[in-house]
């Protein structure tokens, strides 16, 4: 009898988890382009322009989704499938990485990292399957940046795991919450913030599209709804990197549980992610673009810092 009750509670918990996860993913579909709109507005204001409405990115995406898909006619077969796979992986990442609601899917840092990186991988396979030189150059740059940023990301994850003995991202109890008094965790938090910045393709690291110099990069072979899918999934990925940073840095347990806790969580999460995004966009506006070599070299230095964090964490600092 008691087993039946326990099973019932577990099933109820699982239903809640997946409903929360679904809500998170659906909200992200709108929230990510909204953040992009805010970013465009900030950039315009800093450049003393009026700028578009903050809903402009949503309008742009809607327009692109309504158009038929366009693709380079000489591309390989996979290129046609890439936008759908990229979007599916982005939505999957949105389902399992806790964001607005505390969806405790049991996600660990490795699964989260791999899904987020898989979004870039699916896109890069597509862009390198094109016959357009700009697309291939953009794809190469995207892949090079992915390797260099993974050096830093892996270091941050390994140091967190070594410090806390687990990879599990908790949503309620503080199983992994970066400790501001440990030197390794200070470095790890800084590295994670840099990774979120780099993966958001902010200047000076925005080298794969690099429109002024490449006339469009990794996405140039796509148009219409295929382009919409790829742009949309990139925005979701960028937002999820920030969400991961917030998940690990904020002490969620102080917000309490129950309906009030939920409302507080939504508010705190929204404020924090929007704030971080705005700061990133401001930095993006003031920087110039790195050459690919400069970008990779900069990330190599961050990677060395993350190695130091792993060493410190493994000796208990």
């Amino acid at each position: 009898m008691s087993t039946g009750v326990t099973d019932g509670v577990a099933v109820e918990q699982m239903i809640y988890t997946w409903v929360f996860a679904l809500v998170n993913a659906l909200v992200l579909l709108v929230y990510a382009p909204l953040l992009d709109g805010i970013g465009r507005k900030i950039r315009a204001r800093i450049q003393r322009r009026r700028g578009p409405s903050i809903l402009q990115t949503i309008y742009d995406l809607r327009k692109l989704y309504c158009m038929p898909g366009i693709i380079d006619g000489y591309s390989g077969r996979y290129a046609r499938y890439a936008p759908a796979l990229t979007m599916a992986l982005a939505i999957m990442a949105g389902l399992i990485i806790p964001s607005f609601l505390p969806a405790d899917t049991g996600c660990d840092l490795i699964v989260a990292a791999y899904l987020l990186v898989a979004v870039s991988i699916a896109l890069t396979y597509g862009s390198l399957s094109m016959s357009i030189p700009y697309s291939v150059v953009g794809g190469c740059r995207e892949a090079s940046l992915m390797m260099a940023s993974e050096l830093c990301f892996a270091g941050a994850i390994a140091s967190i795991a070594a410090a806390y003995g687990t990879l599990y991202i908790a949503v309620a109890s503080p199983i992994i919450r970066l400790d501001p008094f440990k030197p390794s965790m200070i470095i790890a938090a800084a590295v994670l913030a840099i990774i979120a910045y780099v993966e958001g393709l902010n200047l000076p690291f925005e080298i794969s599209e690099a429109e002024p110099e490449l006339a469009g990069g990794a996405l140039i072979g796509y148009g219409g709804r295929t382009l919409a899918l790829l742009m949309h999934s990139s925005m979701i990925k960028e937002t999820l990197f920030i969400a991961l940073l917030v998940d690990l840095l904020f002490p969620w347990s102080i917000l309490g549980t129950g309906p009030v806790g939920l409302v507080l969580r939504i508010a705190v999460f929204t404020v924090l992610t929007t704030f971080i995004y705005m700061v990133m966009r401001m930095l993006d506006t003031v920087y110039g673009r790195y050459t690919p070599r400069q970008a990779i070299r900069a990330l190599k230095r961050v990677g060395l810092a993350s190695i130091i964090a792993v060493i410190l964490a493994s000796i208990g600092w």
Partner: protein
């Protein structure tokens, strides 16, 4: 003997008989060509069956052939090592790997033989190929260290012949390099280590060696450190671990495709099998070996994969990745020992690491065999291996390109394919640990992204972008080649989506090691995403969702248009960046690693130059029985050393 039945005793002989027939029939090449593939396929099925039955049977199947050990009544001269064959669970697990790889390679062989026939490269391959399968089979099932050495030597000899089977200048050079780096020094080290163990234990059968070494290794330096160290050094050379790796790219690259697939998919696992048996079965968990394996595994995976990134030859790229992936396996094996040898003695993490080592070995067999086959299919179609000159095959060979894409995703660890699960288990067991392991886990995760970039290059250069070379070939390669690739692709997906199937088999295998009853607990972390494996959940969502998005938004509603080709009418293939230069910026920034490797390869090149002068003579030697006689002498010499060292022969 436990588990001995008439069926078991004689069933073990079936593959031996079947695989020897091609050697006997070698006088008639026409019958031999397809016959060799048929016989190897049948014997592979038997090997697979034996592996599964050995793994799931309650008692180990042990068969003793005393009549083979003393054909001239050697026992009367004090020769006490009977030829013992048997299937315990460790052997059975690796038999499954061998059976599976040799079965699909043999199916692939049916179609690939036409290509070899056109190039007149068939004759040596069809004799040596089944012989290699035979000796790998015997090495895995033999249960005596003495006879292991003999069969290991024969396996190495057959490998060498297989590498040279094309009889090209490069092939013979690769074969000689294999000899110089692995056979002569490695065999002597293994022989020395085995002799020391036999002297220490007074017996050569696995069960009694394990029993004695468990007790003796803690206080006896020879049994615990010197002998395992010698064997490890020999096995490192055979499996292509750093610093004995330089034969790997040449040997895998110059062999015919299904031989490369067999060498990378199965032969490298035979070395892993012995490493596993040595450190998880013969010896107790000794910290020093954990550290050595972890360091060697990490160095190999970093070096192999970074070198693969800059390759422009499809098979050399895959060969370097073989090194890298074996590095992952060795890292996980070392981590398992390390976690049990040093405080806080995490049995659960140790079990996950050991399971990850076995799982990744299995996965590597699947995706690497498939990748070599896909490279072979490209060679079959275009006759070219250079990534700079290939391209456009995705439109001509949709099934092959899909299979290659699955393999590329699998080896890169993209969820939900099989490589993701085993890599995830490696990180999950190393990163949250103590000491060296988080740093090694970090290196493994970083290198996984390099693997990804490398396979983005591999796949898109062959199957993605337009072709530079004219393709006078239309359609898929022969049915048997496509079938073999689709079987492997299906398994890569299956064992990623439902990892509990192989994990159950691995659970059985680990009961045969010092982890024993802790295995079930250890495998529990594999279930972490709301009560299911993350890979299963991801597959259940990503596959249908991407299909749905494709069906609704893309399929039938997307048109191909002419892109911007710098003002030209058609794609200017030569304006596309060459794949060999895709990652120039990355390689330039990480030049320290590459300059180190260039320095080491420079010294090897000097040896190579002196080899080149020997080449014409070397190829002549391969054609004659002189070389056979030389190898026979080497075997006799090794036997004499062991006989004298162990006191079996009068001094």
């Amino acid at each position: 003997m436990p588990g001995t039945t008439w069926l078991n005793t004689y069933f073990l002989c079936i593959p031996v008989i079947l695989l020897l027939i091609p050697f006997i029939l070698s006088w008639n090449k026409r019958i031999l060509a397809k016959g060799s593939a048929v016989l190897t396929s049948i014997s592979s099925i038997v090997i697979l069956f034996l592996g599964v039955s050995g793994l799931t049977s309650r008692t180990p199947i042990i068969t003793v052939y005393p009549w083979l050990s003393c054909p001239c009544n050697i026992q009367t001269y004090g020769f006490p090592y009977p030829l013992v064959f048997g299937l315990d669970r460790i052997s059975s697990y690796f038999l499954i790997i061998l059976g599976l790889v040799s079965l699909v390679s043999s199916i692939y062989m049916f179609g690939y033989l036409d290509y070899l026939e056109r190039r007149r490269e068939i004759s040596r391959l069809i004799i040596n190929y089944p012989l290699l399968v035979l000796f790998m089979y015997l090495v895995i099932i033999v249960q005596s260290l003495f006879w292991f050495l003999v069969l290991w030597e024969l396996m190495g000899f057959t490998t060498q012949l297989l590498v040279a089977s094309r009889m090209t200048k490069k092939g013979v050079a690769a074969s000689m390099k294999y000899y110089l780096l692995t056979k002569a020094p490695a065999e002597l080290m293994i022989a020395g280590g085995i002799a020391a163990i036999i002297v220490s234990c007074g017996n050569a059968t696995y069960a009694s060696v394990a029993q004695t070494l468990h007790l003796a290794s803690n206080h006896d330096v020879v049994a615990g450190i010197v002998a395992p160290g010698l064997i490890l050094a020999g096995l490192m050379a055979k499996t292509g671990l750093i610093p004995f790796h330089s034969w790997v790219p040449d040997a895998y690259g110059e062999s015919p495709t299904m031989a490369s697939a067999l060498l990378s998919g199965a032969a490298s696992k035979v070395g892993v099998y012995m490493l596993f048996r040595l450190f998880m079965y013969f010896l107790p968990p000794l910290g020093v070996w954990g550290v050595v394996l972890v360091v060697v595994g990490t160095a190999t995976l970093v070096y192999g994969t970074l070198m693969a990134l800059r390759q422009a030859d499809s098979k050399r790229l895959l060969a370097y990745h073989s090194m890298g992936q074996i590095g992952y396996v060795v890292l996980a094996l070392g981590a398992s020992i390390y976690l049990m040898a040093y405080p806080p003695y995490s049995v659960i993490l140790s079990s996950v690491a050991a399971a990850a080592a076995l799982y990744h070995a299995f996965n590597h067999s699947l995706f690497k065999t498939l990748l070599f086959m896909s490279a072979g299919a490209a060679e079959y179609a275009v006759g070219e291996r250079s990534l700079d000159l290939l391209g456009g095959l995705g439109r001509i060979m949709p099934l092959t390109s899909t299979a290659a894409l699955i393999a590329a995703f699998s080896i890169s660890g993209v969820p939900p394919f099989n490589g993701f699960v085993s890599k995830w288990m490696i990180y999950a067991s190393t990163m949250p640990a103590v000491g060296l392991l988080p740093i090694c886990g970090f290196a493994a995760m970083f290198i996984s992204s390099v693997t990804t970039a490398s396979f983005i290059k591999y796949y898109t250069s062959i199957y993605g972008r337009p072709s530079i070379k004219h393709i006078g070939f239309s359609g898929e390669p022969p049915l048997s080649m496509v079938l073999a690739m689709l079987i492997l692709a299906g398994l890569c997906v299956l064992f990623g989506v439902v990892p509990l199937i192989p994990l159950k088999l691995i659970g059985y295998t680990l009961t045969n090691t010092w982890l024993q009853g802790h295995v079930v607990q250890g495998l529990m972390p594999a279930v972490s995403l709301v009560g299911m494996n993350p890979s299963t959940v991801i597959a259940a969502i990503v596959f249908p969702l991407s299909g749905l998005l494709y069906g609704i938004l893309i399929s039938g509603r997307t048109r191909g248009v002419k892109g911007w080709f710098c003002g030209a009418e058609k794609p200017l293939d030569k304006t596309l960046p060459a794949p060999s230069h895709y990652y120039d910026d990355f390689e330039n920034v990480f030049h320290e690693i590459y300059s180190f490797s260039e320095k080491t390869s420079l010294s090897l090149r000097r040896i190579g130059r002196s080899l080149e002068t020997l080449l014409p003579r070397a190829s002549a030697v391969f054609e004659t029985p002189v070389y056979m006689a030389f190898i026979a002498c080497l075997i006799v010499f090794l036997l004499l050393i062991i006989g004298l060292a162990t006191g079996c022969l009068p001094g």
